[in-house]
């Protein structure tokens, strides 16, 4: 009941209100309806731009209003868009609103209308809709011509990945128009009998010159098309960073990523904006920009780098303190002064800005197999002393600097080389001698080994030899032999001589090597011991001497069989009694003889031991020349007196005598042996290498025999070549 009465009251009230306003409705329209509606077409952007105003507003009256906008396509009843636009309306204000159509505007007729309502709390009774404005038709006129159809949108620029709608508008129907994207047929939908629409989803970037989309009628009457310009999506700049070299210019760099430039769109531009100063600059380059720093003023910087193309903007930010981003210029004027054999002073300059901030400089010195590093604090000039350097050595130095407080980046290296001075040689040359007695005097050949670079401390220019006759206490000779020389020959008599050898460079002389030479070799007979060679040489050892020795020398010839012996030696210290002697000249099948000397404290060499051996023994390559004699009916004698066991490729241990006979029996003293050609013979063995004769007995008369004498060694025997034939005579013939 109560409800009904409430309803009745409301109804009456409404009726009353209606009555009150009816006259107004009939006599004049709602005072705040939208009027002077104008539609502007931007077909390139497929946009409709509305302009209207609201009349009958009092001066300085501001009203909050809502405008409802309806957009229809093809016919007014086909509403495709409704939107409520709220805004505050002032007196005499022109209102604006825009709408972007997914479908190009040329493809269909569009219609637009709007109505308004007051959305103000102050006047609640006015809050219902005005009448609709009349439909505004939006029709984009296609160029009049004889073309049977048109394709839209022309020359559109879109971003990769976006959706695009294409249409064709045909003059006549029915039409059999087929459309292609890059030559591939597209499926469309008919919007109207004359208009078909194609939706392209997520268009891809194909090339900078655009994507062709064209349609053709089946009567071959025309080809029409458009070029769709697909741009790559503008990416945020990467690795944005700024630094300064001198606190007056900032250099900002970034990675622009892909270039979105194409035919229809310029490459993206970059702008730098700093918020504390409010300054902005357009960067001329696509990956770096310079910024002038106001001196002594701003320390904190807040940069925004914006990449912008026609379609999109992207920004990155960077906040930093200027003094924390100092990347100094490389130091300059690197000099080396006071360069001696072992010391050098390095000086350099750094670029200053007058701001007096301290730099930390790193110095590195590279020599032969050594590196010296120092860290130095520098304000204007840097200085560093180096000691303990090697004489006559080239050193490569480099220096770089960075901000000492708030390190950011090292400057580039600045490099400079210098060479230390020479110093006198530090060690005595390794000297040895060979003494030959010739007709009452001695021919002494002196040898020395060149000093290593470490010992020479400079270029060796000459060698000085002082020969002092100890018997007469006088200096016999002074020789100066220019380098490079590694020996000299002296003719001396049988006196005792003391020979000093020094190596000299431009600075001074080395310590002296002293050796005593006496005319009389006086070497006692020394047993020769056999040694066995190994792959890397000969391992030799000797008995230590009871007396004092200053060292030992092992001497040998590299070419014992050649015309020149090529004397070699190895010096070892007094406590060493074994060593490995190796030489590139050692060959298999060659016997090398080693003499071991001890050097007494008086510098006199004494022969201690002799060794001999082969680095590798080889089996003999030929057999001795054998002479047969004393042939009887039951024996004959073989001899090979001329065979020398000294010049063989291995140590001869004995001989084998092979005897081939028809009988095949071997008597005592021999054993049966089978040769490589399967011939059976008797083998006699001779264990004494010095034995050079042999009697073959127990033979049969009038028999044919063949014999061979071959030496045997630890690595085999001589070749089993041609056997010598002999026939024993008849017993009764003499």
């Amino acid at each position: 009941m109560a409800l009904f009465s409430v309803f009745q009251t409301t109804f009456l009230l409404a009726l009353l209100s209606l009555r009150t306003y009816q006259s107004e409705v009939l006599s004049e329209p709602l005072p705040w309806a939208p009027e002077s509606l104008r539609v502007f077409i931007n077909s390139t952007h497929q946009c409709l731009h509305l302009q209207w105003s609201v009349h009958n507003l009092a001066h300085h009256q501001e009203l909050k209003m809502v405008f409802q906008i309806e957009i229809s396509r093809i016919k007014t009843s086909n509403v495709i868009w409704v939107e409520n636009y709220s805004t505050t309306v002032k007196w005499n204000q022109v209102l604006h609103w825009s709408w972007e159509s997914k479908l190009p505007l040329e493809c269909a007729k569009h219609f637009i209308r709007m109505r308004s309502a007051v959305d103000d709390a102050k006047t609640p009774e006015q809050s219902f809709w005005s009448n609709w404005s009349s439909w505004e038709e939006v029709h984009v006129q296609n160029s009049l011509g004889h073309d049977p159809f048109f394709v839209f949108p022309k020359d559109k620029l879109v971003e990769e990945g976006s959706n695009v709608t294409i249409c064709y508008v045909s003059r006549s129907q029915p039409n059999n128009i087929s459309c292609y994207l890059e030559g591939v047929r597209m499926q469309g939908e008919q919007l109207e009998p004359n208009v078909s629409v194609f939706n392209l989803n997520h268009v891809a970037f194909i090339r900078e010159t655009g994507t062709n989309i064209y349609c053709k009628g089946d009567q071959g009457d025309s080809i029409k098309g458009i070029v769709l310009f697909v741009s790559k999506v503008l990416e945020e700049p990467k690795d944005f960073s700024c630094e300064t070299q001198d606190l007056t210019t900032l250099n900002c760099t970034w990675d622009p990523r892909s270039d979105t430039g194409l035919l229809k769109q310029l490459s993206q531009s970059y702008t730098l904006f700093e918020s504390f100063s409010g300054k902005k600059t357009l960067c001329k380059h696509k990956s770096w920009c310079s910024w002038e720093v106001a001196p002594e003023s701003q320390e904190m910087y807040n940069f925004t780098l914006t990449a912008e193309n026609y379609l999109r903007k992207r920004s990155v930010h960077l906040l930093f303190n200027l003094t924390h981003r100092v990347h100094p210029m490389a130091p300059f004027s690197v000099l080396f002064t006071d360069v001696s054999a072992t010391n050098a002073t390095m000086t350099w300059k750094v670029h200053t800005t007058g701001n007096y901030y301290t730099l930390l400089c790193q110095v590195e010195l590279y020599g032969e197999g050594e590196v010296i590093q120092r860290n130095v604090s520098v304000e204007v000039d840097g200085k560093q002393l180096f000691g303990g350097l090697k004489p006559d050595t080239e050193y490569r130095a480099q220096v770089r600097c960075a901000n000492a407080n708030h390190f950011w980046k090292w400057s580039e290296w600045t490099r400079q080389n210098f060479t230390t001075a020479e110093a006198a040689p530090s060690e005595a040359p390794d000297v040895w001698r060979n003494v030959k007695s010739v007709q009452g005097h001695s021919v002494v050949t002196l040898f020395w080994k060149p000093l290593s670079k470490l010992q020479a401390n400079g270029k060796i220019l000459f060698y000085n030899i002082v020969i002092e006759n100890l018997d007469r206490s006088s200096i016999s000779k002074l020789l100066s032999i220019p380098a490079p020389a590694n020996g000299t020959e002296l003719n001396l008599d049988q006196c005792l001589y003391q020979i000093h050898v020094t190596a000299n460079n431009s600075v001074g002389t080395s310590p002296a090597s002293v050796i005593i030479v006496s005319g009389d070799p006086g070497n006692k007979e020394v047993e020769e011991e056999r040694v066995k060679g190994m792959e890397d040489g000969f391992s030799l050892s000797w008995k230590p001497q009871p007396g004092n020795v200053t060292g030992y020398i092992v001497e040998w010839c590299d070419h014992p069989r050649g015309p020149l012996c090529d004397l070699q030696w190895k010096s070892v210290g007094p406590t060493t009694t074994s060593t490995v002697v190796s030489s590139d000249a050692f060959r298999p099948g060659v016997q090398y003889n080693f003499r071991i000397y001890g050097i007494s404290t008086e510098r006199v060499p004494y022969l201690l031991e002799k060794k001999t051996g082969y680095s590798q023994e080889l089996a003999p390559s030929d057999n001795p020349q054998v002479v047969m004699s004393n042939l009887t009916s039951r024996s004959f004698t073989l001899s090979w007196k001329d065979y020398s066991i000294e010049s063989q490729p291995s140590f001869i241990q004995g001989y084998h005598v092979y005897l081939k006979s028809k009988a095949g029996q071997c008597h005592s003293g021999s054993e049966k042996a089978v040769l490589s050609d399967d011939a059976v013979c008797c083998k006699y063995r001779i264990d004494n290498p010095k034995q050079k004769t042999f009697v073959v007995e127990n033979l049969q008369p009038e028999s044919f025999y063949e014999f061979l004498v071959t030496p045997y060694t630890s690595v085999g025997e001589g070749p089993h070549g041609a056997f010598t034939k002999v026939t024993t005579p008849d017993e009764y013939c003499l």
């Binding site: 022309k154 020359d155 292609y180 010159t209 655009g210 062709n212 071959g220 098309g225 035919l263």
Partner: protein, 154 residues
Amino acid sequence: MQLQYQGSPFSDPGFSAPELQLSSLPPAVVSFKTWHALDDRERLSHAQGAFLALTQHLQLVGDDQRDLNPGSPMLLAQIGAARLRAQGLLGNMAAIMTALGLPIPPEEDTLGVVPFGASAFERKCRGYVVTREYGHWTDRAVRDLALLKAKYPG
């Protein structure tokens, strides 16, 4: 080569669209009977008019292609060369007409008002038509000159 740069359908092998024409360019294609029956004056003035139009159209196409294919100097060089040859042929025609005592038609603006707002596709289309007609007209001019040479051996 020009067609390769334009993309599909122009770059499709064997592409041909004889229905595409430009109203400002006289078409070379004509029936053999008609062509053979032309008199000297008509023959030469047709050719003359065509090559005059071609020099102007090739200039337009060159400008179009400079925009459409900016990174292709070879293409632009080819168009330039074609234009020079067309001008050469124009000179040849004028010389022959003078020798035959025929009046030389005055130079006229064949392009007229060019719609500056031509879309990229429209420009590709006209590039195709111009280069096609250039080829056909050159072939036809060769036949024309051969015919005249046979007629006037001197």
